[in-house]
Symmetry: C2
C-alpha cells in the first residue's frame, strides 16, 4: 500500500456539507478498489482541492474519484514524508 | 489561525533525511512568524512537495519557507476540510 495526494480544480465556493457529500461518495465505494481516503482539504477561493489517500496504485485512487463523480488526472505518490 | 497547504517543485530524488532536514529548518524558526508546520509529503519522482501548516496568514507561512531556504509562491488557505 502506498500513500497518495491528488489535486482537483473547480471547487470554488464549496461548503463543508458539499465537501462532506463528495467525500462520502468516495468512502462508499473505495473498498472496492482497495483505497482509503483519509482527508480532504479545499480552498474555496481558488477552488483547489487536495485528497490524501492510501491504496494499491494511482489508478485505483483515480478510479474511485471518477466513479463517484469528481475525476482528476493529477496525483502524486508520497514516498517520503515527515 | 488558519490552515494552509503550500506546494513546491524540484524535490526530485529527495530522501527522508533530506526532507527531515528541510522540515527541521522550518520548525526552528516558525514560532517567530506564529506558524506551525504539521506535515510534509514529497513525491521524489516528480519532485512535488506539499506542506500542511497553521498560521496567521499565507505571507507568514511563505516567509518561514523563504527564510529557511526553500521558497515557494504557491499556497492555499484550507477553509473547508473533512
Amino acid at each position: 500500500m502506498a500513500h497518495f495526494m491528488d489535486v482537483h480544480e473547480g471547487f470554488v465556493g464549496v461548503s463543508k456539507d458539499e465537501l462532506a457529500k463528495a467525500h462520502d461518495a468516495d468512502l462508499a465505494i473505495e473498498s472496492e478498489e482497495g483505497v482509503h481516503f483519509e482527508h480532504a482539504w479545499v480552498d474555496p477561493e481558488s477552488g483547489k482541492a487536495f485528497c490524501l489517500s492510501t491504496g494499491p496504485d494511482k489508478e485505483a485512487v483515480l478510479r474511485v474519484h471518477e466513479r463517484s463523480g469528481h475525476p482528476t488526472a493529477e496525483i502524486y505518490e508520497l514516498a517520503v514524508e515527515v
